[in-house]
């Protein structure tokens, strides 16, 4: 017995430490259960298609004979795929080797003998809890049409429709919304059950002995009660005696109450949870984004920055702890989440990946305290991400630097510098201001020299910018990290350098296109 114990524990260790095994298990877990896994949606779509095919075949089967190949596909192939899926879910639902290892280590630690049956008991308990979960039962029933010869089992195809819940998050959201009103639904159910059972018995007692009444059995009485209370009222069975009609009046009145109550429960659940549902959807969408700017705090400057960045290729996400400011951001057409940018949990909950998704964090609260706090939080999660912050009081500059801000913008200092320029060279200042803001169609742009351009254009004199009436102000050389104003004709261009050009926006675009198309003679 000890030998078997030892063998199983060794095997559990082997499996638990096997990279290949864990990688495979992780892959199947991700594709089945992990919503953040990018390929899961393709698997979900594939399964949804199978379900619809299955239902379509079931409908087609009713009135016509379908091709045997299609029938084979429906009965066996789809069922086998569902079976494999069920087994994979069963496999990934819990970690058996982990349970054995933990039980063994626990026994060793407290100096007791390791009993395999205790670990097995725990494993069985975990697996059974999977088997008896509602979702797993639906999955299992969806496989049953495999036993095609039993005609009733064909109807289990409809269970495949229930499987849709698994693959669509909106269904899940809807169920979770309704589940918040469990108590109300329970009361409603009890009320309806009492009315149905009392009225069924009453109508049966009043009508069953009357030869002209269509209600002859308790089942018919029950059927009539449900049809009436639901306010459907087919009219195929109607009470004929006065007493029966009194019962009908009672049931009809109760029916209206039940309907009104149900509607109000669903509506109130939806209204209460609407914001939450929207937020879940927003977070899902944010997770799909590749690169964006993160604005922490939506006040005046943030509003203006967001409106200026609207033409940017990157998206903008706003985080703010104040619901009013978030409302403003949403009204301005931005993706905004009511989370505190100074709380590390906000980034976890929203799934924002500071490492790969965020190009820059903009701390734009008009309070240095808040900006320092947000900066420190971001820095505690990620050391690299570019942080730009507003500075409201020059005395706090060091604090922001210490917190880890990469670039600081001090509006008051800016006013001072602008004033100096305005009294010295006002027109020059205005010209540059106009260039920056693309007034009158004239713009200043950075053009990246990529490999493709560099293959055909090696020296500055090959740029032909004058042809496009574009001024080459200078080159930013990547190798030296320096800007060279008005470079000489024979200056070498290298991949990664930037050209700084001024000109009419349309001409700059044409010039850029030309650079990409030009072929060296």
């Amino acid at each position: 017995m000890d030998f078997i114990n030892r063998f199983i524990v060794d095997f559990a260790y082997f499996i638990n430490t096997s990279d290949a095994y864990q990688r495979k298990k992780r892959f199947f877990y991700d594709i089945l259960e992990n919503d953040k896994y990018i390929y899961k949606k393709y698997f979900d779509i594939f399964m949804i298609i199978l379900i619809f095919l299955s239902v379509a075949i079931l409908i087609a089967e009713v009135k016509s004979n379908i091709n045997t190949k299609i029938e084979f596909f429906n009965t066996y192939i789809i069922s086998i795929i569902f079976f494999i899926e069920y087994m994979l879910r069963f496999w990934t639902s819990s970690n058996m080797s982990e349970v054995i290892i933990r039980a063994n280590e626990h026994a060793t630690m407290i100096g007791q003998k390791f009993y395999l049956y205790k670990a097995l008991y725990k494993i069985i308990k975990e697996k059974l809890s999977f088997i008896f979960s509602v979702r797993a039962i639906i999955d299992l029933l969806a496989i049953l049409p495999f036993f095609h010869e039993l005609r009733l089992l064909r109807l289990f195809v409809l269970f495949r429709v229930f499987k849709l819940f698994r693959y669509t998050t909106s269904f899940q959201a809807f169920i979770s919304v309704l589940s918040t009103k469990k108590f109300e639904f329970l009361i409603l159910l009890m009320f309806a059950s009492i009315v149905i059972s009392v009225s069924s018995v009453l109508i049966y007692v009043m009508e069953a002995n009357n030869p002209s009444s269509p209600i002859n059995t308790l089942f018919e009485a029950f059927y009539w009660s449900i049809v009436t209370i639901s306010t459907v009222g087919y009219g195929d069975i109607t009470p004929v005696t006065s007493a029966g009609r009194v019962v009908a009046m009672f049931v009809i009145t109760a029916g209206i109450a039940v309907l009104a109550f149900t509607t109000s429960i669903v509506v109130s659940a939806l209204t209460e949870k609407l914001d939450e549902i929207k937020e879940i959807k927003t977070i899902e969408n944010i997770r799909k984004l590749k690169r964006f700017y993160l604005i922490c705090g939506y006040e005046n400057v943030a509003q203006e920055v967001a409106s200026q960045l609207q033409n940017s290729r990157l998206d903008i996400i706003v985080l703010d702890e104040d619901p009013k400011r978030i409302e403003n951001a949403k009204r301005d057409g931005l993706v905004a989440l009511n989370y505190d940018p100074g709380d590390a949990n906000s980034y976890k909950k929203t799934g924002i990946d500071l490492n790969t998704q965020v190009k820059a964090v903009l701390c734009l609260r008009e309070s240095d305290v808040e900006n320092v706090y947000s900066t420190l939080t971001v820095r505690s999660i990620n050391k690299e991400v570019n942080i730009i912050s507003l500075l409201m009081d020059d005395a706090n500059r060091k604090k922001l630097n210490f917190a880890g801000v990469n670039e600081i913008l001090y509006p008051k200092g800016l006013v001072g510098m602008i004033s100096r320029e305005l009294i010295g060279k006002p027109v020059a200042f205005e010209v540059i201001h106009a260039l920056r803001n693309e007034y009158y169609g004239v713009n200043v742009e950075e053009i990246l020299i990529d490999n493709r351009i560099n293959e055909n254009i090696v020296y500055v004199n090959e740029l032909d910018n004058a042809q496009f009436r574009v001024i080459l102000l200078g080159i930013f050389k990547k190798s030296t990290n320096r800007f060279f104003f008005n470079p000489m004709d024979e200056t070498l261009l290298e991949s990664g350098d930037y050209l700084l050009v001024i000109g009419n926006s349309a001409f700059i675009k044409e010039f850029e296109k030309y650079l990409h198309k030009k072929i060296r003679r």
Partner: protein
Amino acid sequence: MKTKTALIFGYNDYALEIAKNIVNEYENINIFSLHSENDSLKNKSNFEIKSFDLSDRWDELNNDVDIENSIAFCVLEDSAENIFLTISLRSSFDDLDIIALSNNKETANKLKMAGANKVIPLVQTTAEMISEMLEKPIVKNVFHNILFESGELKIAQIKMNDHSSYIGKMISDIDWDKKYGVIPLAIVREDMSSEFIYSSKLKHDTITQDDIFIIVGYERDISEFEKLIGSRCDVNWRNWSW
């Protein structure tokens, strides 16, 4: 005796930053405060704080200040007060250059209507800088250095000499970048209207002796260029339009 004075209205960080930056350009810097008693106590700067009232008629200024060569900065934090101050100054002094600070576009428009020659839209300018840092970091650095820092690269306003050989030549033929190492960006014409150097309007125009060029270049090249072609000049931007 009347002096060339910078009049700064409002005692706050903006006023102190402005005073710090323009202190070398004016004989006098006067900071005016609406609550001078409090502010004088707190004042840690070297600038003297005077008091003013929004209902002032500014007779005193007329006696001491050379209004035509002076400048006023209206940087009160309350927008309504700032607008009232601007309109009050303009109604008293036609020739005073007034620069006002605004927090939003609406106030900026009102300040202009009230008679400010130039409005610094604070929020907008700050946002412009931030979006430029993100989208065009090289442009931001280069322009920031040209405008605000004491780097080698400068921007200058140059007026043609009367005897310059360029007078009468086509604007589109200018090749100063190769010859003198300076790049012209824009031109201010005789009627004080400005045009971008490559604008289609200027395509067939010639250079006249009243033209002022906005050029960028290294300090030494600009000085050299000045000797040969023209001289640095001020533009009275009260009449100037883009």
